[in-house]
């Protein structure tokens, strides 16, 4: 492989992307894949809001409405928010720690393809015509009673995608433990790397319960199991426990990287070191730990008893403490800083009040007696959209603008970026603020329509208008992306001018081996330190330029994931079609044979010769 730019045919380019193990390309694949599902989930959301904009509407049927809310939630959490965050983690974290790639490039690719085929499997339910309809939480009594194959698509699709997520989590953990550049101690790691680290540890311990829960559901529905069937001695509450033991950490898995992204943004655009860095790290770890201790606050009304409810109520409220620490640290980072209002900074500024509101309503629901009033009302819908959209989605949009030049080598238009922000931000508050009151006024969640004359009409209409404003914001972003990609104005290493961490000291996008020589890290915000000391390049090499070991690309991850995809259909139709069982076995065999092929071929990668690196350097006319 040569680093000299060559014109490649379409087939060669496609093959390159299908077989890539480069973390930067996989980052882009995650970003595009997640973006695709984000649009799908967004269309579902628009249909939900259109159905509810007037009373007694019959835009969609009750059954289709159930499909829509289930698929909207599942898609947005598993197939949009997480993969897009994985995209940024892949693209940025190895650069931030001065590594040439992740620890397991092959598994990185496998993780992506399993997510992709899992998501595809789930969404093929729309084409097949039987869609998951038991809610994104898929509570067992409901999901066992669901007719057709809808919930089967949910169970198997998430199983495949979840496996990919687990691999990605382990990969990031090992990368951050083993692959840091010399001098990059744990307490010098940028906050985005730290939050990725903690979120990955949470994935490692939160996803196995989901795996088990989905297997139980699969066995109950397709293989004659009785875990949740009370007439056979089963217990439907077990699903709720297992789901939330996964599900609550999951929301922290989403929000912690978002916190990391905003920490980077506040620091960059206040042109100041992050205030209280050690306390930020400590708060991140503490949130990660407490995230596992609170799952039963989703189940206050199940009837676990006052003792259990009290313990989980107190644990829930305790999480507000480290989160509060973070909020104050961000405010104090800005205090006395030389603030530049760019698009990412606008998102960061909008994030603070939005997320605080979501946090406050969270503490309200943490009070178990009050939760009995709020449970299953629109107040809940308002709350979790305030934390997920007001936290995670704002972070994703902010990071899209912030890291776009690093990922694609060109800037997004700032004016259009600000237009996107204002449409999205105002639309967001219009949609969800009013839903708190809808909840107080008694509107239950997950109803497909409502009667006239209950005082809900105006509020629902406002909410729908807000939702369409958010959609306009996203459309402007897509136009922005297409426009700037067509113009493709190349940018320098640090297009924002105030980068503090290693990713801003190398090209945009970086060369495929990232660093010509592994950098030496001299402190927190090492590039900033170097620049303050007059080192224009921002980098001090830790070693002389030498041969670099690189992994080979491989098509096997795609083949392995595809085998599971096929096996999923076999499992689903096993009892009703004669081809079911053979297809199930064939799919699993396909995966196993691909895996064995990988194991037997002894792929130990290749070396980039020192001369070639020196040539690259010379062509650029500088160091690094």
């Amino acid at each position: 492989m040569s680093s000299v730019a060559q014109k490649k045919g379409f087939g060669a380019t496609l093959w390159d992307w299908l077989t890539t193990v480069d973390h930067k390309k996989i980052g882009i694949l995650y970003f595009l894949g997640g973006g695709f599902f984000f649009v799908l989930g967004g269309i579902e959301a628009m249909m939900i809001r259109w159905q509810l904009h007037i009373p007694n509407n019959d835009f969609v049927s009750a059954g289709l409405f159930n499909d829509l809310i289930t698929m909207h939630g599942t898609t947005m959490i598993f197939l949009a928010a997480m993969p897009i965050l994985f995209g940024f983690m892949n693209a940025i974290v190895p650069l931030q720690i001065g590594a040439r790639d992740v620890a397991f490039p092959f598994i990185n690719s496998l993780g992506f393809w399993m997510f992709f085929f899992g998501g595809l499997f789930l969404n093929i339910s729309w084409l097949y015509g039987e869609v998951p309809d038991a809610g994104w939480t898929s509570y067992a009594s409901l999901s066992l009673a669901s007719q057709g194959h809808g919930v089967d698509f949910y169970a198997i699709g998430l199983q495949i995608a979840g496996g990919g997520t687990l691999m990605a989590g382990i990969n990031f953990l090992v990368t951050i433990i083993n692959m840091r550049a010399p001098g990059m101690t744990y307490m010098r790691m940028p906050l985005f790397t730290w939050t990725t680290f903690v979120a990955s540890a949470m994935i490692l311990f939160a996803f196995p319960p989901l795996t088990v829960g989905l297997f139980f559901l699969t066995f109950d529905r397709m293989f004659g199991g009785n875990f949740f069937n009370h007439t056979m001695g089963g217990n439907t509450i077990i699903w709720e426990h297992i789901f939330w033991i996964f599900g609550h950490p999951e929301v922290y898995i989403l929000i912690l990287p978002a916190f990391g992204i905003f920490s980077e943004i506040f620091s960059i655009f206040s042109r100041k070191r992050l205030f209280g860095y050690p306390s930020m790290v400590f708060a991140t770890v503490l949130i990660g730990f407490l995230g596992f201790m609170v799952w039963a606050h989703h189940m206050f009304t199940v009837g676990l008893g006052p003792t259990a409810n009290a313990i989980f109520a107190v644990a829930t409220m305790a999480i507000a403490v480290p989160t509060g620490v973070k909020i104050f640290n961000w405010l104090l980072t800005m205090w006395g800083g030389s603030i530049k209002i760019t698009t990412p900074m606008l998102y960061a500024l909008g994030f603070i009040p939005s997320f605080v509101m979501g946090g406050v309503t969270g503490v309200m629901q943490g009070a178990a007696p009050l939760d009995y009033q709020l449970h299953d009302s629109y107040f809940i819908v308002a709350h979790f959209h305030y934390v997920i959209v007001g936290g995670v989605v704002l972070a994703i949009l902010a990071a899209t603008h912030l890291y776009w030049p690093k990922m694609f080598g060109t800037m997004l238009n700032e004016t259009l970026g600000k237009v996107t922000f204002w449409f999205f931000f105002i639309g967001f508050h219009m949609t969800f603020l009013i839903q708190h009151w809808l909840g107080f006024w008694g509107m239950p969640r997950r109803v497909w329509t409502y009667m006239d004359g209950q005082g809900w009409n105006l509020a629902n209409l406002i909410s729908t208008i807000g939702a369409f404003m958010m959609a306009i914001g996203v459309i402007v972003l897509v136009i922005n992306a297409i426009m700037t990609s067509v113009k493709n104005v190349k940018v320098a290493n640090d297009p924002w001018g105030d980068g503090r961490t290693l990713e801003w000291a190398i090209e945009s996008p970086p060369i495929y081996y990232n660093f010509h020589a592994t950098p030496l890290v001299r402190g927190l915000d090492t590039v900033w330190i170097e620049k303050m000391e007059g080192n224009e390049s921002g980098l001090t090499p830790a070693e002389p330029i030498k041969d670099i070991h690189m992994p080979n690309g491989s098509i096997i991850p795609l083949l392995m994931s595809f085998g599971l995809f096929i096996a999923g259909f076999g499992a689903m139709f096993r009892t009703e079609e004669s081809w079911g069982l053979p297809v199930l076995i064939f799919g699993l065999l396909w995966t196993f044979v691909s895996m064995a092929a990988r194991s037997l071929q002894d792929d130990t990668g290749y070396y980039i010769k020192k001369d070639e690196i020196l040539r690259d350097l010379k062509r650029k006319g500088g160091q690094n």
Partner: protein
């Protein structure tokens, strides 16, 4: 990495399983993976404890009557011994004694196979009694917990068999040393899980 590099017991590193960066990554990654597996089994155990002896009205099976400790005791001995033999194999891995390592791994696999055959016998015995997978919540939870462990044993057997045959002709190098070592970690993990199954499922089922 040069796969053809020849070693002697003197030049062979003290910790061949983590002598290169790739090997260190696999070593740490596999430990983390086992951490995730622990949670997976913890979830299965919790479900089993919640559902044990639970079935439809008039349900005729209980742990006291179903389980027979002598058989389970033999299975336990087989698996514990196989863990010991895999330790011997790792001893020879460290000493660069390929032939003896292969021999002890083959013995490990043989003992594991014995365990698995007894488990298949045990399961078919229960099914013969009418205690099928779909018979009750208890049977679903039992077969899923113990069966998942059995599945792990089967995966380990396939793994070690492939390792033994794949490397039979070329001997040890720093690339496959990690593979052998992670297999032994996995095998110990399976053993530890079985100790818990023996205690929680069988002992507490019959005695508790």
């Amino acid at each position: 990495m040069d796969l053809n590099k020849k070693f002697t017991p003197e030049t062979w590193p003290d910790h061949p399983e983590r002598a290169t960066l790739e090997a260190k990554n696999k070593f740490v990654g596999f430990w983390l993976f086992l951490g995730g597996e622990t949670i997976l089994f913890a979830t299965l155990f919790a479900t089993y404890v919640a559902l044990k002896n639970s079935g439809p009205s008039g349900f005729g099976f209980s742990t006291q009557e179903l389980y027979e400790l002598p058989l389970v005791f033999v299975m336990t001995m087989l698996l514990l011994t196989s863990s010991l033999t895999s330790v011997f194999a790792m001893y020879h891995l460290r000493n660069y004694n390929f032939k003896k390592m292969q021999l002890w791994l083959a013995i490990t696999a043989f003992l594991g196979l014995g365990f698995l055959m007894l488990e298949v016998y045990e399961f078919s015995h229960y099914v013969g009694l009418g205690f099928t997978y779909g018979n009750s919540a208890f049977s679903s939870a039992f077969f899923t917990l113990v069966g998942t462990h059995g599945f792990h044993v089967a995966v380990g057997l396939v793994w070690v068999t492939l390792l033994i045959f794949r490397n039979a002709k070329r001997g040890l190098n720093l690339y496959n040393a990690t593979k052998y070592y992670t297999f032994s970690l996995y095998w110990h993990f399976i053993d530890v899980v079985w100790v818990f199954i023996f205690t929680v499922v069988y002992l507490m089922g019959v005695v508790g």
